[in-house]
Symmetry: D2
Subunit: 244 residues, 4 copies
Amino acid sequence: MVHVTVWNEFRHEQESELVRKVYPAGIHGQLAVFLEKAGFHTKTATLDQPEHGLTEAVLSETDVLIWWGHMAHGEVADEIVERVKHHVLRGMGLVVLHSGHMSKIFMSLMGTSCDLKWREADEKERIFVVDPSHEIASGIPEAFELEKEEMYGEYFDVPAPDETIFLSWFEGGNVFRSGLTYRRGNGRIFYFQPGHESYPTYYNENVQKVIINGVNWCSKGNRAYPTYGHEEAVYPIGKGTNEQ
Amino acid sequence: MVHVTVWNEFRHEQESELVRKVYPAGIHGQLAVFLEKAGFHTKTATLDQPEHGLTEAVLSETDVLIWWGHMAHGEVADEIVERVKHHVLRGMGLVVLHSGHMSKIFMSLMGTSCDLKWREADEKERIFVVDPSHEIASGIPEAFELEKEEMYGEYFDVPAPDETIFLSWFEGGNVFRSGLTYRRGNGRIFYFQPGHESYPTYYNENVQKVIINGVNWCSKGNRAYPTYGHEEAVYPIGKGTNEQ
Amino acid sequence: MVHVTVWNEFRHEQESELVRKVYPAGIHGQLAVFLEKAGFHTKTATLDQPEHGLTEAVLSETDVLIWWGHMAHGEVADEIVERVKHHVLRGMGLVVLHSGHMSKIFMSLMGTSCDLKWREADEKERIFVVDPSHEIASGIPEAFELEKEEMYGEYFDVPAPDETIFLSWFEGGNVFRSGLTYRRGNGRIFYFQPGHESYPTYYNENVQKVIINGVNWCSKGNRAYPTYGHEEAVYPIGKGTNEQ
Amino acid sequence: MVHVTVWNEFRHEQESELVRKVYPAGIHGQLAVFLEKAGFHTKTATLDQPEHGLTEAVLSETDVLIWWGHMAHGEVADEIVERVKHHVLRGMGLVVLHSGHMSKIFMSLMGTSCDLKWREADEKERIFVVDPSHEIASGIPEAFELEKEEMYGEYFDVPAPDETIFLSWFEGGNVFRSGLTYRRGNGRIFYFQPGHESYPTYYNENVQKVIINGVNWCSKGNRAYPTYGHEEAVYPIGKGTNEQ
């Protein structure tokens, strides 16, 4: 059974009544509902808990960590970021949602600014599958629409993805690589763009299916970390060549 | 000096007055004009010439072949396709434009159906750079617009590109990976989507710059074809291991 | 349950007593033994059967096709190759083993010569995992050794792989990208180099595990083939822009 | 004219007479000799200079920075690392040599541990081209040999490279992805493995040619940094759809 920890900074919901109306139990609460229903063993953790709820014990039992953050990226302690990264490189999966693109953990794993263009204008988004044989696209229609989303637009300053699974069209004239995978060390990472705090995106069935697929895919990272350092020669050295 | 051969099936221009008005000298003629101006040694070849204008002599002197075809893909002789492929795998560059996506040569190099969605509706296209450090994007703005183009939409059935340089937004609600590179053998291939025969796309300055950049990039394939087959061992075999 | 069809040209075993001693039931027979044991529903097919044993009915019920061929690549009918390709592009998995690198089906899907260097010298091969989080490497040690294999060496003329999972070291002084994945259309392809007909490679436990993993991975291609062709606009065209 | 800054930690040469004999002018000195000869405007900088010789002024005038470090990675100030990274993401090229794989700057751009296996045993290395159409392989033979190098072996914990140009074979039984490219932001990065301080590797003609090619390739990063942040809609939002 896959163990999922849903991390949410959980600030918008406390500061804005609008957001609270959309996500009364917090974004993490809503994510946990459908993940639990999908059969994952699901816990949540938030910024204001001790160690942000991401103790060594929690991470050791986590197969896949989901990350939603936005207004308080800077408040995440560097030590916890290092701890999460340590676990990702050793095989823990990481699903980064929406504004998590500028979280410390994602930037640290990508090595780039992870910056992009954005617009909050209640505009339509159409999401297209561009890797139809990928598990994360399994059961997803060729294209589906979100009535209202925040526009995220190119250029998105991330490394060339290992796999590009979704591309998005925005009504106001932008495109975005909205579903991307990366492997870092033994860990698998999936970035998925939808999920602005003021829209009911995480109630959308296709979005839920993508996240469920993403968790499943990310859960397959390998925990058998390679050994590094000095290694004796297996074959004798200095026996010359056959060349004349 | 880079030697370019512009190949055009040259049928639309002869059959349609509308197209002839846009490209009085043929699509190949217009492509040749700005390529010549850019400093390339430029020739043209068309379907109805003997051997489609692509004799062994012509290809041997061609650094980069540009391919525009649409209504008569099936009339290109298999033997000529094989000849072109032979040269691409040995280092000749290939720039495939617009409807060339379903040419025999492109399909043969890709191994897939190369199919896509399309619509002729006089709609706007916005082209975004998603690989800003690539030569082919050099001098191109972050995004530029074509007033009217044929919509080409995902899913585009091609292998995952080596590099994705441009993504396109279409007014009617579609996205497309519109600038892609592939390496096959010693050859470099660049696919670029704009260029429907009834629109003046190849007069657009940014489109011209992309094609010029593409030709330059494709011209750097290596003509020193690897050797294959039996090879003697360089190091002695059977000397045992250091393991105990 | 995953349905596997093991295809073998089955000529070496009939012509050479040496090979017959290694694989008394044919290479396909030995592959089928451990695949069956691994829980796959396994059938075999060979070159000399009608339609090479690859009828439309057989392929329609096949989730993953395994391909072993060498001396008789040219005898495989083009029509059957097209049929297999049709199924791969629609989601059937394909595992290509060893000398299958120059089979018509693999070359047709790759678009390149698929040529390489080789040597039969009873030499040692060491296979290294270079993508530790990939399913196909699951349970495989960081490196493992084959006592005797045919050397396959670079340059291997294939497209840049989607994923490089294994690299091989050969005693006589060569390296090879020995485990590669490609996606073509809806299908998944895994190429794995070991398996010369005169060595007992397919009795090796790690080789078996890689092939089992490869079959599992290739079985996840998606059978919901995209639709192509004309598509109406979803959003109104010609409504102008916000620019002034 | 391309401006190159060669950075060397320059400690081995001062502490070891053996290394000093191989590189009397320092590793940076030897690198500068052949780069200057190749037509680059070349400067050097070392760890013990103020700001490690990497002032804002120096980096602003640098098209490509070469990095050689090993025993004193930890002494490089974090502030300087951030400054270098800032320039790479804005288009400065970076060539990382040999033990630079665990430099702070490389690790920070990769997001992984960048760890590997190693052995100092005076063993032979054979370097194979696996991307023959790449500029960095231009003029390099299909394979070339270094009489003695430090073994660097897989698993090398780096992200899947954008391009894999060289693979290496080591006498004692290891393989390594020895020539890799990455694009990060607007910058281009080339990692090249040879160059242990006690061997005369940087006098080898093929090694020099690879580094010269690498500098040329890395120099083509684009200095026109994308704009990020809020963007107004170009097309009107809320005009409905064509669907019924």
